[in-house]
Symmetry: D2
Subunit: 276 residues, 4 copies
């Protein structure tokens, strides 16, 4: 295994490792260490603080599952907010929904946007769309200053360390509730149940105290810890597991299907236990 | 990261790595290199030819999903065969079904059984059950010599290299069909769709030519390549996705639920495409 | 590179890595983490706190160079002390000198002795020699309580962390001076000049304040950081670089020769600078 | 140890590993894979086929020891040839000798020169000196076509794989003899005695059959396998170990000294045995 490899210790005692052909950009931004690398297995890949954020090969899972589950749950999503997500992948999926009139991206680190556009154009390419409003700003503050504005909010953050730590607090979820319209819905990535069970349980508890409908769903992301990723949904009115068949129209996806939408809420027992 | 770590290159350019506290047993058997190691993250773990086979912490996913899907599909499984599976995990799950009168294990490498009993007693403990017939023998030959015998056959093999290469051939599936009773059902682990898409497509094609009902389902196994594992089902009569509600009785599981049974057949689009 | 490998980070950003066939013993002793491992390249190897201490294949360099340089410098070494060195390698070399009547080993961690005897008998085998007095005790205290006793003292310690931290202090060197006879000589391993230049410079300065003759010599040890190891000599009377030819008699060695004895004091310029 | 690390397996079962801040250039040239990387420990580093060639931090050892030993042995070196050595380090040292009127560099891979100039200017900077003739050509052919031309030839090649395989043959040494003047001298890097004892023994045997004076000397290079590197000298008339004191004049070095010149020929016994 001579050569250059990137290793992410996903826990103290476990990690993934992959061959790196070259680094494309390396920088300590104001918020985090940013590396854009070309990997042999996953294509171009964005790393923040030595953690895998997204890669050309498997990015579709995360971005489709963050976007389409809430957008197909809400009957008429028009005004959408993405917190974080500077790589542009969630926005790309959001724009596939014709009902969406405006999509706001609030990313704290402008460098993430800049280098995603440069090295991950398949992901970031639609950030130039006229429906998109890109703001380099603190998502926590943006939420705090918004009221009754959004139909759907997606929180596409890093792990709850560094700049993202505020995005896993009850105060943030309360702010999201306020920022949503009366039938609004939000989803946040909430890590994996193998190594971060406590986080999932805590978020479920916090969101339940604020949103009448709280759900958890899962997707397989091979470059994320354990390969099983969870998403927490808080909804004021519409239940994602009861979405009617006719709401599904044809969109072009590689992971999401209408059957999988529902199946993603069927949790392994040890994960389901975290939600009760 | 000073210390002793085990790394499995799951592809030429990607792998997992984990801290090893100690090796418990190391041996070149007649069939493969066998290592039993104590890992910090996953507890005791069985490696064959430097590939993760099973671990104390996450074994339940694989063993439950191999066993319960076909056993809850068949209306009255009495005579069950496990090919491979010398660690005993599938047998343990099989024995949770009161209808099962006999469970035969045909494992080619007796050392796998011996050291699983010694170092993974939570997995291998029920191999001593009176309903179990353990045979150290070639599963391919056992199948070839069996006719109209089994209700359910589970193929719990290693990757299609080394001793397991015959277990991924059309001839083997034809033998399984012959060995099954007229309403029999079989399931085989068929690797992951991220790195082994061709294998899954080939097996689906081969099984479809022999079995009227062919299905694919998935489970998340964090120590297996990509974290998403597939299982191919071939069935003569009973369709695993149409199993009736009343067939589910209470068993003690950590991963399998009756909702998950059905959801496991809702495939991500790029996986579904492999089955068509 | 699938398999089990031991990696020692020799600095924050550099290390060595080697294949491990099996662990032979693993224990947290009262003083340190002890691992005895079987490596493919270096044979059985002793690790303390995840740092390579000695291996079957390359141990001869260190042990010969610690022992023979001072013993061939002193005209008649009879009473010898080894501080640390529980693996027994230095003692084995000391006993090759017929003038030696008594060799005392003071090792703080009895487990090092126990498992070296068991798994490194080629190194530890002569600890049973009647001339050897093995004491499981604190070398610092032993030195503090000794006066005008030893002809030669060898300090075979670990890095200046953990139990060995006292063994790199000026107080310790003063104690050694007191413990030595009037023409006594001592040698201590003092790490490598690539990563630990400050340590070498500090020890040289401290020893010079106590001993009229202070020298530094080097040897190549492939499993130690940088491959270049230094040894600091403090001597009351005999200068190791002026040793007369006739003092050399034939001993069986693999690294040490009389020519190398002198050559080992010819330092690379950047190392020589540390001694001035 | 999350992050990007370069690992060189120096043998099947042993290697070094180091943190990489970024890759500066990566290319498959006509001859080899070339990577220029910025490492944390060793500064900028040139890799060929995933093997360390030279680094900013430790390059001085190799380059000084290749150049100064033969140049201080020869009484009046005027015309010097370097085979390989496209990084320019040997040339830089050669030019420190005022007697040298012309230094020819014959490097087969022009990309090595190009990217060393760009990313290792401290090493390659003197390639622009008017006394230097840089030829991008096959060193083996250059030697074959030269007769009675050079005072000193230095072979600064990669391992005997790939483009360098011809440079370790008896035919090549015969060509060198022909290319040298009647009192000429040559030196070649000949790997390390821990992992490549056979190579050293073979080269010694071959060179002895052609040159009346054959010697081996060593230096410590921390980023090369085992940290101990050997250089084989073949000389028609002047013996490098008998060089007179007055030949040494002051040059600016970090490793080489006149004492070390001689000491470098005092070999560890197991290395000395390879020369007999």
């Amino acid at each position: 295994m001579s050569g250059i490899w990137f290793t992410e210790k996903q826990t103290e005692n476990f990690g993934i490792t992959m061959k790196v052909n070259r680094t494309l950009h390396t920088e300590q931004t104001d918020f985090q260490k940013l590396d854009m690398v070309e990997t042999e297995e996953w294509g171009n890949m964005l790393l923040l603080d030595d953690m895998v954020m997204t890669s050309k090969v498997d990015e579709f899972v995360y971005h489709e599952m963050v976007a389409h589950v809430p957008l197909f749950t809400h009957p008429n999503p028009e005004n959408v907010l993405v917190v974080g997500g500077g790589d542009g992948g969630v926005i790309r999926e959001v724009l596939k929904h014709p009902s969406v009139k405006k999509a706001t991206l609030v990313e704290i680190d402008g460098k993430v946007i800049e280098y995603s556009k440069k090295f991950l154009p398949e992901i970031a390419g639609t950030l130039e769309d006229p429906r998109v409003d890109v703001q380099v700003d603190d998502g926590f503050l943006h939420i705090a200053q918004s009221e009754n504005v959004y139909d759907v909010i997606m929180v596409d953050s890093t792990e709850p360390v560094g700049p993202a730590v505020n995005l896993f607090t009850k105060g943030f979820y309360a702010g999201i509730s306020k920022a949503l319209k009366e039938d609004g819905i939000f989803v946040a990535q909430t890590d994996n149940p193998w190594f971060k069970a406590d986080l999932i349980r805590d978020v479920q508890r916090d969101v339940k105290e604020i949103f009448p409908i709280t759900r958890l769903y899962i997707a397989n992301i091979p470059t994320y810890p354990s390969g099983m990723w969870t998403f927490t949904v808080g909804s004021k009115k519409h239940d994602p597991i009861e979405v009617s068949e006719e709401r599904f129209h044809e969109i072009d996806t590689k992971y999401y299907t209408k059957e999988l939408h529902k199946a993603a809420f069927a949790l392994p027992k040890f994960v389901k236990d975290l939600t009760e």
